[in-house]
């Protein structure tokens, strides 16, 4: 049966992991390649590398980082951050990524979704959406708004509507981050995730707010998420994606086990 995915996310700046699961016994715990390999060994279904490098010089190291990370990774590998053109995406694919995640570039130029898909297939295009509930709206969830620039700029669009448009333009998956929940460890925004997941036919990856194992069970249940992003699994009192999935299996969530 099709399983729900636990996706390990590494935030990388200037070629170094700045957030994500730390393994005390790794010689270089900031090395994305070593961490990604370890995550895959320990049961992560997929790896996402988000490049948060601000400087142009730092960005040049991204392709080298992707190449080294992809080298011995045999699970799906997504790269996001700073991909603005088809050429940017092509370079990341050539370096070994299986999917690219695009966010503000897709909002600025929605045709980019189909352009990348035309060359690399729709399955390779993940559209990332950062959304926040609109407390003034009659339906704060259905009318949750899409933000860019780290949440500073309201695009005036709703998450549900943008997810549907991204799907129609050829997106393969949606990576939905709740800005209300992100960093709170109070749980995913299950209502928002369910609203988006029910509106599209492509998979929705939930992100933001996980604090306990039960939060993952909630987002796969009430949240109707197809996958969930875990930046720091250690914070949930388990040692690996594998043990997280073992706990989810006890709750009746279909997961890839053994892994």
């Amino acid at each position: 049966m099709l399983t729900r995915r636990i996706i390990a996310c590494l935030d990388v700046r200037d070629g170094r992991v700045v957030k994500g699961v730390q393994f005390v016994d790794l010689i270089d715990a900031g090395d994305p390649a070593a961490l990604a390999a370890r995550q895959a060994q320990e049961g992560a279904d997929e790896i996402v590398l988000l490049d948060i490098t601000a400087t142009h010089e730092g960005r040049k190291t991204l392709l080298d980082t992707v190449r080294r990370t992809a080298q011995s990774l045999f699970v799906p590998f997504t790269v996001g951050g700073g991909i603005r053109t088809v050429a940017d995406a092509a370079a990341v694919f050539e370096a070994g990524a299986d999917k690219v995640s695009i966010n503000s570039a897709a909002l600025a130029d929605p045709e980019l979704i189909g352009q990348i898909g035309a060359s690399f297939g729709a399955q390779a295009v993940v559209v990332a959406i950062d959304a926040r509930r609109d407390p003034d709206a009659s339906d704060p969830v259905r009318e949750a708004r899409v933000f860019v620039h780290g949440g500073r700029k309201d695009t005036g669009r709703t998450a549900v509507e943008w997810a549907c448009e991204a799907e129609s333009l050829g997106a393969g998956e949606i990576l939905l981050t709740s800005m209300d929940a992100d960093g709170t460890r109070a749980g995913f925004d299950c209502e928002l995730t369910a609203a988006v997941s029910s509106a599209v036919r492509i998979p929705v990856i939930a992100s933001g707010g996980a604090g306990t194992l039960a939060h993952f069970a909630d987002v796969f249940g009430a949240g109707k998420a197809d996958a969930a992003l875990a930046a720091s699994i250690f914070h949930f009192g388990v040692s690996s994606a594998r043990s997280l999935k073992q706990e989810l299996a006890k709750c009746g969530i279909p997961v890839r086990l053994p892994c």
């Binding site: 694919f93 299986d98 898909g117 390779a124 036919r201």
Partner: protein, 203 residues
Amino acid sequence: MAIQVTVIDYKAGNLTSVVKALRHLGAEVSVTDRPEVVAAAERIILPGVGHFAATRRLDETGLTPAIREAIAGRVPFLGICVGMQWLYAGSTEAPNQCGLGHFPERIERFPESEEKVPHVGWNQLDPIRGSRIFAGVEKGEFAYFTHSWRAPITAATAAVTQYIQPFASAVEDKNVFGLQFHPEKSGESGLKILRNFLEFRPC
């Protein structure tokens, strides 16, 4: 001596992952879009993601007859994803584009249901007993899928997967193999399946 394998590049998606996995297994990989290279190949892999219509390029570049002859000459052949689908007569995804027709059936879209289409993620394999490409692969092992069209179950089916309905997640006929999932992205199980293909000897 390293096992030689020729990967066909017909501009349908990204070959990096497949090539990387094959090299990891110790194979000597050459990537080509030339029929004469395919005609001389010892072992052939046809990858492919995206739309069935992209296989038109195989016809336009003369690769189709080269592959047909190689298969007739008992060269081991593996089609992955759209590369598997192309082994059939055609697909409702691109009704005017013929497949190789090695298998007479047609590829069809998953039926409408509550479940999402595309089928994306890790799902389980139920290999047919005696399958060579699944040697050492247990029932219930997982593989990574991403597709909306799929092959029907027939006598040539090598593995069955359940999504909405059971479908053929792999096909096998003498020296011809097809995998609907991505072995290069399916962890240790996927590498085992690719190794089986690399080590397959037609009798």
